[in-house]
Symmetry: D2
């Protein structure tokens, strides 16, 4: 059902912190124009953790309307417990999402049986397909690969997005879900060529906001079996990914550094109007933003439109 | 402003998972009757991570109405980002809470500057006092004691609740907030006597749902300087706290084990009608619940009413 | 068998990095003069991780000779596997140690069954008593309190040294070893009064090198049931412990900061000749050493001899 | 200098726990016969953490003698501090090793400056080349990729062995060491084809004890640019690597499970006489060993000799 390049969209904001729907429409159009195969609204890169419920709705509504059915729209339903996720997922369905992306419960310490119950309950009560989202850096628990395999074989989940950075684990997931029809997506910006070589069905790269054409080329090369070309594209994209290391990490945390860089790059390409991130995240300094722009240019990316 | 024993209330549920307001009124009355000095609605023990927004509202409304101003009611406003916390906090204010309890942002990786900005923004935009909540087991970052001290001295926070289990860090917090007027509350069930001996202003024990009289006695003894009596009470309560180790941890995770035990104990004392926890948490087995009952009895606790 | 204040001795070095036996004799005499109840050679504070086998022998031989049977001498036998620990322990016995202090195996990932086997094998093959050493910050696994209790009840271990900083866990250890005759020692510099209030038999404080009189007073007060006096002494010692926060932690790691401070303080008190630490640890800067000296003075400590 | 397949040799033991030199000679010959390009004695797989100094010497002496200069022999010099590593490294040089493999200091908490000093001191005082060994699962600190690059460019280290499982980090290491002449080796059993595709110079797989022919084929295919063939070989080897998941992990820890499986497989292939591991590691049960044998057979591996 899902495959190819599915960028987790940034949520552009106005200077006063509201969702900038004009910029978000432009970003959506930019991604569609590059040939992406799906759109993921409400990931970490979309600042789901910082947006209010209203902001989340506005973002999803805008992307669904702009995409107009050209590609599937996945919506994050990320929260600490099953009932909360259900409420978000039902709202996403009303707003036109094609699937929801769901992590294990977090904040309190749960066990594998509760994780299993969480997905089974969601599946039983939702009409939308559920994508299991493995992001141990945020959830602080890794989805066990055996459990993912079982949930896929039982059709409880439709796909898995692996943002663990652990290719060995992702291989186990691909082995365990084989034959289930579930698709396996990597969330890695820098190991996408390798994940594709191992049999991934698609890529969900935050950096895909900035250079969707690059990831589409990488994906198409890999699909055609030309892994040398995929690797060359990956090499360029990995260098570009250096933009997340520009911010002074003594000043800001990792998420401000990464999101700030993506947004600064999108602003420098003329896709979005303003690079601010949602509170309490901190933006790049003007000097850091200039260094991001320089890296964007040296990756061969020009201004859009 | 806040002091003494402030139990984080369990949220009793009906058999079909709705908030059991009759049981919650009974629990609130039971705690007030024991002489607690405040009520905390919406902590981990209150299953805030599992309750829907509607359920959270119902619980807070019920407790505020039952307390009827006899003691302050603190409400958890626990979410991943500042705007989301603001929305919860404003709702809590509408419903009559006297303060909100707020962790650092979680789920995405943030730095100290963002944590500081988070609390400063909340303080600037809220009328309610803010209690900083340090619970590294859930948030996966410890609130730096120096930052807590600065926020207290600047009147950005009114109190701190320390559930880190780290008495050395709590001592630093008490030293750093000295003279600010901020109160320092420990969240430890088992080190409460020691925290009081070191100068804590109060205790927020999940086990206080089950044995509020015990914690009130411990607190009063410590306030009177009788640390030997406080220690004796602590010894009994620590043994009672063994109820959280009854559940088979190969079957369920730590939060199911702890909440399941608290609720089984409350049911066995006749305070609440049903011991189920909110999905995806799993309840104790009937046999485990019987073992909890036996521990409750051997701690000298009888059926209520 | 072991009780009271048992400082983990620093290992003074000469300017070229050899064990400075004259300074070590002076340090030993200084501690004995303060009334300590035992001496621990070869802990982290003794730089066991940095000393060669020959240096370790020299240090132990020197302390044993200087102590001359006045108090027991414990020797660290810290290594990654059972056979290696056995070799160190037998050497310690030859050199006159009264007991060996042994962590769980580290470096490779082991399970509880292997930890149990480790201690049982050591007990079976050694004549010296074995002290179990729980220091999760170094070993990266916590000794399970239930296991410690079983090993104590089976007389496999004679004592436990808890440097976990986790008083709740230490309480479980004390409960589990009760009646076994095993003694329970805390390694905490800053929670020693509380550990004593809960029933600890002794204290193994690195800071005891610098202010052994203070810890002896704290211990004696607590033994006499005067916990208020113990707390006052603890308060002064906790302030003094601030010397470990003097070093610029952007420049050096935690162990260089702590050891560097202890040695700078000992040098400023005239107990040892040179404050250098063993490679690759880095010493304090001259300015940092001056700030340590100032803190030592403001804690009321004067030059010795 | 180093390249290709360099298995970290198991250390076969007799029934009473002594080094079984006959089996070790046979294992060495088996590996050389398969065409490996180097031999690594004294890694985790060689139970360096469990072997006594004498056992380590015996193992290294045996392998050096059997290899007789056909391929380079690398020796682990794994210990907690610089002086200790120096002593091990000098001994390894006396015994004929061609290089030493050295981790960052461990057990105590050190900073980056101390790690840098550690490698610089070793380089200054040793004649043997130093291979930096990044194994965060054991050392609990990751070697920063920028530091590895600097040490390589300064000729302080000759090679790096990456056992982090983090291909993104390994890519940074390969980028940072480019042009320095340092060789980059992966320690991954299951991502070896991908590491080779990204430009690794060699592989140090524990599973290479069991199936050296497979890893040599994988390496040769990758060197020839035939990554499809490398991937096929990898697939078979990854399935074989399932032997480390046979042991009941409720009974034993990860290192007993992995080493026990390697040794059981080598015994079932007739290469070594006895599958026991060194204390306190626990062997597989007879039933587990039979299941390992079955997996070995289904991977197409037959009895040797």
């Amino acid at each position: 059902m899902f495959h190819g390049v599915i960028p987790p969209l940034c949520t552009p904001l106005t200077d006063d912190g509201e969702v900038d729907t004009a910029s978000l429409e432009r970003l959506t159009g930019f991604l569609l124009g590059a040939g992406v195969h799906g759109l993921f609204v409400g990931g970490s890169t979309g600042e789901i953790a910082q947006l209010s419920d209203d902001d989340r709705d506005t973002a999803l509504r805008t992307v669904v309307a702009t995409a107009a059915g050209q590609v599937p729209v996945l919506a994050g339903a990320i929260d600490t417990g099953t009932r909360r996720v259900l409420d978000h997922a039902r709202r996403a369905q009303e707003l036109g999402a094609d699937a929801v992306v769901v992590t294990a419960p977090f904040y309190v310490g749960i066990g594998e049986a509760e994780v299993r119950a969480h997905y089974e309950l969601l599946h039983a009560r939702l009409e939308l397909p559920v994508v299991a989202y493995d992001i141990p850096s945020n959830v602080h628990v890794k989805l066990p690969s055996a459990l993912v395999g079982e949930l896929a074989q039982a059709k409880v989940i439709t796909a898995v997005k692996d943002s663990s950075g652990d290719l060995e684990g992702f291989q186990k997931v691909m082995n365990g879900t084989a034959g289930s029809g579930a698709t396996c997506l990597t969330g890695s910006e820098t190991l996408a060529d390798l994940a594709m070589a191992r049999g991934a069905d698609g890529i969900v790269p935050g950096l895909g906001n900035v250079d969707p054409h690059g990831y589409v080329r990488l994906y198409e090369a890999a699909r055609a079996g030309d892994f040398a070309a995929a690797r060359e594209e990956q090499r360029r994209l990995t260098a570009l990914f250096g933009i997340i290391d520009v911010a002074d990490r003594g000043r800001v945390g990792p998420i401000s550094a990464a999101l700030g860089a993506f947004k600064a790059a999108l602003a420098s390409r003329g896709v979005i109007a303003c690079a601010r991130a949602q509170e309490p995240l901190l933006p790049l300094t003007a000097d850091e933003a200039r260094r991001v722009s320089a890296l964007v240019e040296s990756a061969g990316l020009s201004r859009v439109g």
